[in-house]
Symmetry: C2
Subunit: 441 residues, 2 copies
């Protein structure tokens, strides 16, 4: 005798197989879509052309699309958290809505369409916008951060449709702008009313479930020196030499913070709160002592840390270094904070959404996924803190390849992530039996 | 009884008085001319407007003017020594010729019209092109380096004319372009045939006679790192951190060279061969580990050093630092040399021209002038090495104020230098008695 539970379990297994088969059958579609997106550059601020491709695909896939440019007036109260320059003309968000039949939990599937710039071309062994394939991998700017994540969402929903699944809950696939500069796009989606019972961002987590995310702040240091002709350089004060002292101080500060932080999900991460100097500009003439230096960088925070408290301790550190140098004592470096501020955020590691993704991962991969924190800031905080929507990250790809020359992603890993997202959607949103009968009967 | 020598000495003294009085009477003219020149910006590459003012003044003063744009084809064999970009269209040299009556030594009075850029405006307490007067000083870019030097020459010749002096030898006042970038203008004048029995450049020597001049080379360092997202910055290699090692190595190299150098005129100079890092550019994004850094600088040489030998030892030093770092060992910094190369140069400290200026200084100031070397490179080398014209520098102003915010010069000191140059011209070129009779008789 077969129990009702056994029947349900068997039916579920069959449904899963049907959906994952549908993903496998879309492997070429998945690759083509990802390559197509990589070939349309979408550096932060220039997302329009790529978003047009996304909107067209969503419409083709039967999603009801909502395309709008974020409204600076609505974002203004959050101006400290996202960058609004250079405005949003020609930089729309795109959301595709798959309506549920009712009674299920709603889910937001978010990915950002913007990428960092390609960087130095000579560091690449391929065209950053060529989407070249080598074996299982596709190369290009945005390949893993995170056009593959967007493709994951789109193919997952397409596979569910292929499998004849009618969901109970609503699903919203979001392709948002400006994440690399604070996430004005995701925040604009929240403010437009896109809230749900859960949200998944397919940032490249290497197929780990990530319920905790570090925060980050961008800072700008301005150091004044005193100019002099190079031939009497000792009469001047080199802003470059003074910066070296500040930089050393910040690295010591980073080491000190790493020793102090005690958060279980960060235990395995060696540099939990990296402080990176990413840009330096100094001086105007080779034979003048540089009288100014400007450095831009990014500092990491862990969940539990307040942005204001961190800013204060950073300034205290800069002041302490300056106090040890006669010139800097009288000419203290100026620090300002710019760009988006990313508050660290976390949801419980055993939240229902986390369990749903874990279960789907087990169903697809046969093993428990790692549950980890990450050191980078992204759009999670807008969903959790402003949208009151539990949010986590899970996706294919290695963040170590992001922002890098030769950024790339494994197609097989994207296929796996797509299966997991599809099964998570099924589980989270639920399905009416009727929708399945055509295939499973 | 009055001897012929006594008569001559008395006559000479009277002549001197008459000429220095004439300079004093032109004090307002001198200030006005200097202020007018400061108010016409003439950063290297944009000298045209200022040269038009100079040519007009020379014509008014009765000098036969020669205005021409340097010919890149003629300069090409010297391409390593001067910068020819961005070309010379609209950047003419101007030479004013005062013909002697014959039988005297000829003299070139050279000044460069170009200046470095104004730099950071906020570092100035006045408009860099306002030519503001405060007490005895005039402020502005080029005030001491070296529009005052050009004014010195022009007013000296005007005063000689006021005093009714008819010179035996020819005098050529040169206002040349591009000195800050290698001296293409002065070299072009030499190649056009302007050679003489002596040449004086009125660079700001603080009224010291300078028969020896350091050389200099401009270098560009390119350091490669490896990019990574800031959140995993330890996966990357910061070009900024690697540059710090190279910079420290270059400062140690400078210290070593200072200990080794043994040149009598440099004994009093603490930093005889400064190595200055003037410009640094690194990275493109605050939250990416900077994968590149470019630094531009200037290294000093003393007379007796060969450019090639120095370049070799510089490269050896960079390589030695790189060899001590695992990353740099495999990714050695690239060094290239750019802009004008300034060979160091000297003439004997007791050369006739040096003695002439010393005597004139004694006549005006009542004390012996210092005889010194300087650590900067300028146009002396073109006259001495290419033009075979003995050349020294002597002028008002402090090179410590050159290339600086609030560059300024003392009008009184320019007046003194003008008297010394006028008397030097008189002594060097000689005069026919007839020319003086109208005033001294």
């Amino acid at each position: 005798m077969t129990s009702r539970t056994d029947v349900e379990a068997g039916l579920r297994k069959e449904m899963h197989q049907c959906i994952t088969d549908a993903v496998d059958q879309r492997r070429d579609d998945l690759s083509d879509l990802l390559q197509g997106l990589i070939r349309v550059p979408s550096q932060t601020g220039e997302e329009g052309a790529a978003q047009a491709v996304v909107a067209k695909r969503m419409a083709t896939d039967g999603l009801a699309t909502d395309v709008w440019e974020p409204d600076p007036a609505l974002l203004m109260p959050y101006a400290d958290h996202v960058t609004m320059a250079p405005g949003f003309a020609g930089r729309p968000n795109v959301v595709g809505h798959l309506a549920g039949s009712g009674g299920g939990r709603s889910l937001i599937l978010n990915a950002h369409i913007d990428t960092v710039e390609a960087g130095v071309r000579s560091a690449w062994t391929c065209d950053p916008f060529g989407a070249e394939t080598r074996g299982d991998r596709i190369f290009g700017r945005g390949a893993c951060d995170m056009k593959a994540g967007l493709v994951t969402h789109l193919i997952a929903l397409a596979a569910l449709r292929d499998a004849g699944v009618q969901l109970n809950g609503d699903v919203y696939v979001q392709s948002t702008v400006g994440e690399e500069d604070g996430g004005a796009g995701a925040l604009s989606a929240v403010l437009r009313g896109y809230r749900a019972d859960g949200a998944i961002i397919t940032e490249p987590t290497n197929l780990a479930v990530v319920p905790a995310q570090g925060g980050s702040l961008m800072f700008r240091l301005r150091i004044d020196g005193r100019s002099a002709h190079a031939c009497v350089r000792d009469e001047g004060v080199s802003a470059v030499e003074k910066f070296a002292l500040i930089h050393q101080g910040l690295l010591a500060f980073e080491a000190h913070r790493n020793r102090e932080i005690d958060h279980p999900l960060y235990a395995a991460i060696e540099n939990k709160v990296p402080i990176n100097i990413g840009v330096v500009r100094a001086g105007s003439w080779p034979s003048s002592v540089p009288e100014w230096l400007e450095a831009e960088g990014r500092a990491g925070l862990v969940p539990g840390e307040a942005l204001d408290t961190f800013r204060e301790s950073f300034l205290t550190e800069v002041d302490a270094v300056a106090a040890r140098d006669p010139w800097l004592r009288d000419h203290p470096p100026a620090v300002d904070w710019f760009g988006g501020q990313f508050a660290p955020v976390e949801i419980p590691a055993d939240a229902p959404l986390a369990r749903a993704v874990q279960n789907a991962h087990v169903a697809v991969a046969g093993t428990e996924p790692p549950v980890e924190a990450v050191t980078y800031g992204a759009d999670m905080r807008h969903f959790v803190l402003t949208g009151e929507t539990p949010c986590l990250m899970y996706g294919a790809g290695d963040v170590r390849l992001a922002h890098h020359a030769d950024e790339s992603i494994s197609v097989s890993e994207v296929v796996t992530a797509t299966k997991v997202i599809a099964l998570t959607v099924l589980d989270w949103c639920g399905t009416a039996e009727i929708g399945l009968r055509t295939r499973w009967s």
